[in-house]
């Protein structure tokens, strides 16, 4: 039969290579292949097409994590989104794109320049604010980010903004003092507006390898992550790291970044994502 190849060890080796080279990682790959091997041993899978389909379905089940059922903002209060992640992954650019999306829904958006450390971080966010028609609240470089956030939320509440997106400085998850600073930003946000931040987006770069697991673990442990944004999928990296992360930490992937322009943000489509791994 055409396409109904018998399952040989070579076939499993080939699939293992596909999974590894997509950055799915050792542990998750072994988990996926072990479940496939069991099915083969029980004669539940008789040819390679069925085997690939079973593998794809298993990966899809790892990605099938529902969004948290957290209470949204009360009426008249802004939706507050805190954006976090390590250096250079695309937080500020993603915020620009997300603001554009909210603006196209007719919403008033306020951006908070919570990165008071990196050179020209506020300028970068301001340019995005201008591009999409969002207010940008910033203070002098070197200001305490928690103070900027506190003041911005006060302004957002009085201006009746619909959405507030807080940009934070890139930080390695292993830097305790920076993670403490992030926890403080979180506490101050919640103090100023009980229930906020309603969403915490962890931005992950699709070119990242297994270190993404450590990133997700520590950011989640520190402040709780409600969604993952996977950027730079327009490159050649497959972003397979999110498979294990989504599954292990029960965090859904909500958007993907596919470029540097304002419209390059798409809702995450698991079937398309899995198909791209096998292409």
């Amino acid at each position: 039969f055409l396409g109904k190849k018998e399952i040989t060890p070579d076939v499993l080796d080939e699939l293992e290579e596909v999974l590894f080279t997509s950055d799915i990682g050792v542990e998750t790959t072994q988990e996926l292949l072990n479940s496939i091997r069991e099915k083969v041993a029980r004669k539940e899978l008789k040819d390679t097409e069925k085997l690939k389909a079973a593998l794809r379905d298993h990966i899809l089940s790892f990605l099938d994590i529902p969004r948290q059922d957290r209470p949204g903002p009360a009426s008249g209060e802004p939706l507050v989104i805190l954006v976090v992640g390590v250096n250079g992954v695309g937080k500020t650019t993603t915020i620009g794109k997300a603001s554009h999306h909210f603006r196209s829904q007719g919403k008033n958006v306020m951006l908070v320049a919570g990165d008071t450390f990196r050179a020209a971080a506020e300028e970068q966010l301001s340019i995005w604010g201008e591009r999409v028609g969002a207010d940008v609240v910033k203070q002098a470089a070197g200001a305490d980010p928690s103070a900027v956030v506190f003041d911005a939320l006060t302004a957002a509440i009085s201006r009746k903004s619909d959405v507030v997106i807080i940009d934070t400085a890139g930080r390695l998850h292993t830097k305790t003092n920076l993670m403490e600073e992030l926890k403080k930003i979180y506490r101050v946000t919640a103090k100023r507006l009980p229930g906020a931040p309603h969403e915490v987006w962890l931005v992950l770069d699709a070119t990242t390898g297994q270190n993404a697991i450590s990133q997700a673990n520590l950011f989640n442990e520190a402040i709780g992550v409600t969604g993952i944004i996977l950027t730079k999928l327009d490159g050649t990296a497959k972003g397979g790291i999110v498979v294990g992360i989504s599954h292990q930490f029960r965090i859904p992937i909500i958007y993907i970044g596919i470029g540097e322009k304002v419209e390059d943000l798409r809702p995450f489509e698991p079937k398309e994502f899995v198909k791209a791994i096998f292409d």
Partner: protein, 292 residues
């Protein structure tokens, strides 16, 4: 750790006088998994494990070592050999001003590294001139200007209306007026598969004939590192690599993949966000970091 895993594997094996084909089979599986977990590229791992196997089989286990330690010793030596000899640093030949070009994917750390290199070069007696050649990213020129101001290094007054290759050519002639002897060119982040932007880098190279073209790569990069490095090297014949964000807990296997596929030396590592966080690359330290 890998040493513990290998010791556990060898405990089950009798006859500890020599590493044999059969007793290192399971051990090599552990080595393979450790390298993959460290983000070394799949194909690079395959070749490396085979090289280790060939070296290990028939080797006598030294009196002072366990078979696991003996194998680790071989793995370490193979990794260090692949990582290359201790680097010779930046090579500037010919008339001044020399140009140094930084290239790489979006967000890898080029702009920050440009400032770090400027500080490093001045500390070693040179007169750097920073050139912002990224006309696309919002506030990219601002970013390099602010960094230059922090360390009192002149920054070329880039006109956003000009093409990067023309900006660089202008900077080359202005460098003399700033009595600078080395230009550090910060280019825009780009995908290795973006033909138009890769062609832009080739044009810059042709215009200013840089002494060094350094690929700035993120230490946490996964399997994709080989694709990126291969394409940048094919287009530009890079002279070296700088690995950034090395002070985190990334195992840094991308370093091995990049070295294996380009053959080019890793010259520096970025070890922090501050301008003084730049260190020369040590291949033996990298090998032990990869092994965890």
């Amino acid at each position: 750790s890998l040493t513990e895993k290998l010791n556990a594997v060898f405990k089950k094996v009798t006859g500890r006088g020599r590493l044999s084909e059969s007793n290192i089979q399971d051990a090599l599986k552990e080595v393979r998994l450790a390298l993959l977990e460290a983000d070394v590229n799949y194909k690079v791992v395959k070749k490396l494990v085979e090289d280790i196997r060939v070296r290990a089989v028939g080797q006598e286990v030294l009196e002072s070592l366990t078979p696991g330690q003996q194998l680790i010793k071989i793995v370490n030596e193979e990794l260090t050999r692949l990582m290359g000899e201790a680097n010779k640093g930046l090579q500037f030949v010919g008339r001044t001003p020399h140009a140094l070009m930084l290239v790489g994917l979006q967000g890898s750390g080029k702009t920050t590294t440009a400032a770090k290199l400027a500080r490093h070069l001045r500390k070693h007696g040179r007169q750097p001139y920073l050139v912002p050649a990224d006309i696309y990213r919002p506030a990219a020129v601002d970013q390099l200007e602010k960094l230059g101001a922090q360390i009192n290094i002149p920054v070329h007054p880039t006109d956003l209306g000009k093409k990067p290759e023309d900006i660089c050519l202008e900077a080359l002639s202005m460098a003399g007026k700033a009595s600078a002897d080395v230009l550090i060119i910060d280019t825009a982040g780009r995908l290795h598969i973006d033909e138009g932007l890769m062609a832009e880098l080739v044009r810059i190279k042709q215009r200013i004939n840089p002494a060094e073209i350094l690929l700035v790569a993120d230490a946490m990069t996964g399997q994709d590192a080989v694709n990126v490095a291969k394409d940048f090297n094919a287009a530009l014949d890079i002279t070296g690599i700088i690995l950034t964000k090395m002070e985190g807990d990334a195992r840094g296997g991308a370093s091995l993949s990049i070295k294996a596929v380009t053959g080019k030396p890793i010259k520096f590592i970025g070890v922090g966000e501050k301008i003084d966080a730049l260190e020369p690359f040590h291949p033996d330290r990298m090998a032990s970091q990869i092994l965890g």
